[in-house]
């Protein structure tokens, strides 16, 4: 079936718009005496023209990208309930502050005395995150959640090896994000997976049994990816600490308890926070983000270099000399522009605002849970915080799968939830509305989900063949992977 809407993906590749001689830029004339190129560099180091590169005008470029943009849905257009991704509203003041030329036109290697404003900003951000985490030190260098995970596990490794034995294993729950085991592996550890209890949480007894002298740390998401808070978190810390191991918290879900409780008070040794989730820096279609990492006292000596420090006289400097540091996680000073946006957001919110974020995010998720639980199967019925995970169990009776439900939601104008994750739920539909959504938007979403559940019973083929109204319909993903075409060729 081809609907009229479905024919609007006509925008060719930018390379297909190319016409010889078109220009989308203008440079001033060269105002210095021109040397012959061959006098500057021998010809074997130079290239001929960049074969097949485009020649397009500014109009071509603006139309092209404007048309492409219209093929995306975005949080600005409506609820985007991707579980674990915290798709909240991105206030535009954040964009403006990050673009202030006095920030944007500073160079990362300028001497400290020239960039006191930047260093003050970073110092204040660290203070604010220290307070939010309840931890003595936060590194701002990691540029994404997974980058923060790697940083955190490297610190644990360094701390343990400094005291004689780096140990061998990291314990990870079976509902964890895939980045956790990947990060632990790149930090030099083997993974042992821990099974969730029937409540969907980690049982302290399971942990106690698994923590041997070989275990370096537990990586756990709080609340976990079912949205369920690990009420035994302090017990986990005690069990681990008694054996000299560490407690790592994946802070992807910090949005559900920011301002309500603090990781440091739970006995957590390391937490990373995805600033592009809880602190509202835009996702940008997959980044940039930032993943600052907070650490407990024992791990402070190992944080990456450089750190930002304040002198008695109120001036700031970058400290490069930290003898026990794991080293540098990236060139320069982290994703500064993202850090500016996050601090802008924290200041706009203030202490009361941050707490209200968590309260409303949890209220919204529970409202959706209450409205949808008679239409969709709830595999774990433990109380959840900021997200709720349903499954397709009821719809499977009509041979309608999670994927079909997700695709059908697009026809109702909503981005689908996260699907098939966490892995411990077969056919998972993981819904996180965030605090940004007014009740009317939540109701419209719930109405759509309920309508789809009815369609699954009455007109399953309609759901199975969805989406019908999107710029393109279901894609042949097998073809893309079997004979990969990963670039345009003339």
């Amino acid at each position: 079936m081809t609907t009229p809407e479905a024919t609007n993906n006509r925008e060719g590749l930018i390379f297909e718009h190319s016409k010889p001689g078109r220009r989308g830029y203008q440079l001033p004339n060269l105002d210095v005496p021109e040397a012959s190129l061959g006098d500057i560099l021998p010809s074997n180091l130079l290239r001929d023209e960049i074969k097949d590169e485009v020649e397009v005008s500014e109009v071509d470029v603006i139309r092209h990208f404007t048309r492409l943009s219209k093929l995306n849905v975005s949080i600005d257009a409506g609820l985007y309930p991707l579980g674990s991704c915290t798709m909240k509203h991105n206030p535009r003041i954040n964009e403006e502050i990050a673009r202030v030329p006095g920030f944007a036109l500073t160079h990362p290697l300028q001497p400290d005395h020239q960039v006191q404003g930047n260093l003050a900003l970073l110092w204040h951000l660290e203070q604010t995150l220290r307070e939010i985490f309840g931890m003595p030190r936060v590194t701002l260098q990691p540029v994404a959640g997974a980058h923060g995970e790697l940083t955190g596990i490297l610190m644990i490794h360094k701390a343990l090896s400094t005291s004689g034995n780096a140990r061998k294993y990291i314990l990870i729950g079976d509902s964890a994000h895939g980045t956790n085991p990947a990060s632990a592996a790149f930090a030099g550890y083997e993974i042992k997976e821990l099974k969730s209890s029937s409540r969907g949480t980690l049982d302290p007894a399971t942990l106690a049994e698994a923590v041997t002298e070989d275990v370096a740390a537990l990586m756990i998401t709080v609340p976990n990816t079912l949205g369920v808070f690990e009420s035994d978190i302090k017990k986990f810390a005690d069990i681990l600490h008694a054996k000299g191991a560490y407690l790592y918290c994946d802070g992807a879900n910090l949005n559900s308890f920011v301002g309500i409780a603090r990781p440091g008070d739970m006995g957590i040794d390391v937490i990373h926070s995805n600033l592009h989730k809880t602190f509202s820096t835009p996702h940008g279609g997959g980044g940039p983000g930032a993943g600052p990492v907070g650490v407990s006292e024992k791990l402070v000596p190992f944080v990456p270099t450089p750190t930002v420090e304040r002198r008695e006289d109120g001036t700031y400097y970058l400290e490069h000399h930290r003898p026990d540091s794991i080293g540098r996680m990236r060139a320069f000073n982290g994703n500064f522009g993202v850090l500016v946006r996050a601090l802008t957001y924290m200041r706009s919110m203030g202490p009361d605002g941050l707490r209200r974020i968590a309260q409303l995010a949890v209220l919204n998720a529970n409202y959706i849970r209450a409205r949808l639980k008679s239409s969709y199967h709830l595999p774990y019925d433990a109380p959840s915080l900021h997200e709720v995970v349903f499954s397709d169990k009821k719809q499977l009776e009509h041979d309608v799968h999670t994927l079909d439900i997700a695709k059908r939601l697009m026809d109702y104008g909503f981005h689908p939830p996260t699907i098939y994750f966490p892995l411990i739920v077969s056919g998972a539909l993981m819904i996180e509305p965030t605090e940004s959504e007014p009740k009317e938007e939540l109701d419209a979403f719930c109405d759509a989900m309920i309508a789809i559940a009815r369609e699954a019973e009455e007109r399953p083929e309609l759901v199975r063949s969805a989406p019908h109204t999107t710029p393109v319909r279901r894609l042949d993903e097998a073809r893309a992977a079997r004979q990969p075409i990963l670039r345009w060729t003339k």
Binding site: E477, A478, A481, R482, Q483
Partner: protein
Amino acid sequence: MATTPQDSKYAKSHEYTHLDGDIATIGITDYAQKELGDVVFVELPQVGSQLEGNEELGSIESVKAVSELFAPVTGEVTEVNERLRDNPELVNSDPYGDGWMIKVRISDPTELDELMTAEEYDEYCEKESGH
């Protein structure tokens, strides 16, 4: 559903082994290809390499899953199904025929005794999909 060939033996990790003289043809079962979905890539060992029974021999990928392939028997790889490089979908369309993966000169025929018969394998699959 394609019936499970009687003349082959089966591993719990869903590889079949068909013995002809001392050459074993190895692939994955019809049940396994259905569970995986559209196969998009098969990573196989090189001809001449030595396989150890129960050790990883390669991997098979569908669009959204990947699983390791395990050698049901010990021996030397004598042939690799080159057609799978460009046509991995053969594993889906004809797992016991054109979708075979490798041929191995086995060094210990008694290893086959450890594997399941067709009936045992069918029963095993039924149990697996039961929950």
